[in-house]
């Protein structure tokens, strides 16, 4: 690692090094490390038995499952959409192309409560589209589908944002070579383009999933927060905390924290493995 203008004071002993590392950790400690640590300390305070029984309560298991399933489908949709959007937007130039890119990226900047509210206005019983569905007795809001819709909305640009730059920098000559060899567009996409995107697709999917599992602001508005029906894991934590059942909330909090820890470890340590082939050798 390159030394960045280290000030050497006492005979080659670099004071700046321990000091700056200390300051860095000192700032992180109360802001990030201690809060995380306290989840684990409080959660296991009454012994692993209590932790386990809180975790295996039917409501808790349902909430975790619902979070996984809704996040899974939101991820599937957003990765497929991101792939398509990245392909179209990096291959073709058309009028309004930049406007489309901005629109796709917009959901990251919108407060999640606003997103949930917007979905309610559109799909709710008196919403523009919801009104059309209502006579058929169909109802989107306050069902798991609403949660998927909310997840899709708030994680919309994540996969796209990871895949698009890889598309942009990918050498066209690979696809051209495939075409001259005799491959159809579909064969080229399947055998040549897609394998080069593997790393970006996995990263994008993990990012989307991690974000969707933790989604709260929009979910609480559109789901109705009905236990055993539309209560996701973050909503469960909120509900149990309000009811004063700290242990129950804490058990799920630990699971969610561990999950995100695992996902980001994969993203961080598997990056080399995921990305090495995207560069042309």
């Amino acid at each position: 690692m390159a030394k960045i203008s280290a000030i050497r004071h006492v005979r080659g002993y670099d004071v700046a090094r321990p000091v700056s590392i200390g300051v860095l950790l000192g700032i992180m400690l109360p802001l990030v490390l201690l809060p995380l640590l306290s989840i684990f300390i409080y959660g296991t305070r009454h012994g692993l038995g209590v932790f386990w029984s809180s975790l295996t309560a039917p409501e808790a298991i349902f909430a975790l499952k619902l979070s996984m399933v809704t996040s899974f489908w939101a991820t599937v949709f957003n990765v497929l959409f991101g792939l398509m959007a990245a392909y179209v937007l990096s291959r073709y130039d058309f009028w309004g192309r930049n406007a489309v890119i901005v629109t796709i990226s917009l959901p990251t900047a919108i407060p999640t409560a606003v997103a949930g509210f917007a979905l309610l206005l559109l799909w709710g019983p008196y919403g523009t589209l919801g009104r059309l569905l209502n006579p058929q007795g169909a109802q989107v809001m306050f069902t798991p589908y609403a949660i998927i819709l909310a997840n899709i909305f708030v994680t919309f640009p994540l996969a796209f944002g990871v895949i698009k730059p890889v598309f942009d920098t990918m050498s066209r000559s690979l696809e051209e070579a495939s075409a001259t060899i005799g491959a159809t567009r579909w064969q080229t996409f399947w055998h040549v383009t897609l394998p080069s995107l593997r790393g970006a697709i996995v990263s994008g999917a993990l990012l989307t999933f991690a974000r969707a599992v933790g989604e709260f602001g929009s979910t609480i508005l559109v789901s109705g927060n009905l236990a055993l029906r539309t209560q996701t894991a973050p909503l469960y934590i909120f509900a149990k905390f309000n009811e004063g059942q700290i242990e129950a909330a804490n058990a799920i909090a630990i699971v969610l924290a561990l999950l995100s820890f695992v996902i980001f470890s994969v993203l961080f340590f598997a990056r080399d493995w995921l990305e090495f082939e995207t560069q042309e050798a």
Binding site: S173, E176, T180, I181, G182, S196, E280, A281
Partner: protein, 409 residues
């Protein structure tokens, strides 16, 4: 549509060229190709043929449109006008994948997630050939390009030359109509490129597939091409054998682009060329010009012969006298800058022809500079130093009409 593969394992010189119903002798033909990008014309009415088994080099500076021609033949670009014919079949409106040409990209464009074997087998795989046939073809091609030890490796584990051989084998697998090489040695160092182009030349002789190379390197063009097509600013200047384009350039551009060339302006006068005060006998060369026509005299540095006295070799036609201005060694040969005295009336021919221009006289400014090169043995026998007076002759030269307007070629 795709040519049928025929396996004849006993014959070591199987052609990897496609089996064809009729042998026209012309593998690829480009007729009247024009192309503009936005409003800039890139190609202007370019036509040429590539004969069966021939290797044609498109030579031109960057921006001359050579890459565009290649991409048009491959089907990666559409011409605005003109037709492309491959083995008698008009393919102008066919997409790249239906043309069956093999393109060797400058970056080789090997598929990074596939091993050497899988790269080579790709063309057969997408054509849904049987596994056994795929394996046999891949084995023979890997043997042909001598990569037996590397068959399980990935592209990034190979050297540039090995990658290039994989790229060639990958196209040969589906018996290409024609091989197109896009600046094949551009990414390699000087030593490797010389080595590799000999290797490729030998390989092409073996597989007998007609090929088109594009390059900006004249040395490469002379060595690789059965014929060379010189492109300048989107149009074809000359097409011919290396000997023709080098020794009998049709235009000034060809003369100066392929190696160094000296250029002098002259006037045709009764079977000779008058250049200033000098008279160069040129019975044969002046035949296609009329008397009094303005011409350009083009000759290469190695066609200049020098003599410290009046005796020039018999093969040498005397041009003028001059003064050596500079002598420098350039590796394998010696380069001399000589100022020709063309401004003064020469003394009568039988008097000592060695003239009296000396360095540091006003004449020095008047003299016309030409460049000459001599091989080492000759340079070692007669040494010259700046200021030496010499007689200058030419072993060969060509004459080009001198149009006042560059546009009128």
């Amino acid at each position: 549509m795709t040519p049928k593969m025929q396996m004849v394992p006993d014959d070591p010189h199987t052609s990897w060229a496609p089996d064809r119903a009729q042998k026209t002798g012309v593998a690829a033909s480009v007729r009247g190709i024009s192309k503009r990008f936005k409003k800039t014309p890139v190609l202007d009415d370019v036509s040429f043929d590539v004969a069966e088994g021939e290797s044609l080099v498109l030579l031109g500076a960057s921006g001359s449109g050579k890459t565009t021609i290649l991409r048009i033949i491959a089907g990666l670009e559409q011409p605005d006008a003109g037709r492309v014919t491959l083995h008698g079949k008009d393919v102008t409106d066919l997409p790249a994948r239906e043309r069956g040409v093999g393109v060797i990209f400058q970056s080789y464009a090997l598929f990074p997630r596939m091993t050497v074997e899988k790269n080579i087998a790709y063309g057969l795989k997408i054509r849904h050939r049987r596994r056994k046939e795929r394996r046999e073809t891949v084995n023979r091609l890997i043997e042909l390009v001598q990569l037996e030890k590397h068959r399980k490796k990935y592209p990034w584990q190979l050297s540039g030359g090995q990658q290039q051989r994989v790229a060639i084998a990958r196209t040969l697998a589906y018996k290409p109509q024609v091989l197109l090489f896009d600046e094949p040695f551009g990414a390699l160092d000087a030593q490797t490129r010389v080595h590799l182009r000999r290797e490729i030349r030998a390989l092409l002789r073996q597989v007998k597939v007609p090929s088109v190379f594009i390059t900006h390197d004249q040395e490469e063009a002379l060595e690789l091409g059965d014929r060379i097509a010189v492109l300048n600013d989107g149009h074809l200047e000359q097409i011919g054998t290396p000997d023709e384009v080098y020794n009998r350039p049709a235009t000034e551009y060809v003369a100066t682009f392929l190696g160094a060339a000296n250029l002098l302006l002259g006037v045709v006068t009764r079977g000779s060329v008058e250049i200033g005060t000098a008279r160069l006998p040129a019975e044969k060369e002046t035949r296609r010009f009329r008397d009094g026509q303005s011409v350009k005299l083009v000759f290469r540095p190695e066609d200049v012969c020098l003599s410290p006295d009046a005796t020039l070799p018999e093969t040498c036609r005397r041009l003028a006298n001059g003064v050596v201005e500079e002598v420098s060694f350039v590796g394998s040969y010696e380069r001399l800058n000589v100022r020709l005295d063309l401004a003064h009336r020469p003394q009568s021919a039988d008097l000592a022809p060695v003239y009296q221009v000396t360095i540091n006289t006003p004449e020095r400014m008047v003299g016309v500079p030409v460049m000459a090169t001599r091989p080492k043995p000759e340079a070692n026998v007669t040494r010259y130093k700046p200021g030496d007076r010499v007689a200058v002759g030419l072993t060969s030269f060509s004459l080009l009409p001198n149009y006042t307007l560059a546009k009128h070629r």
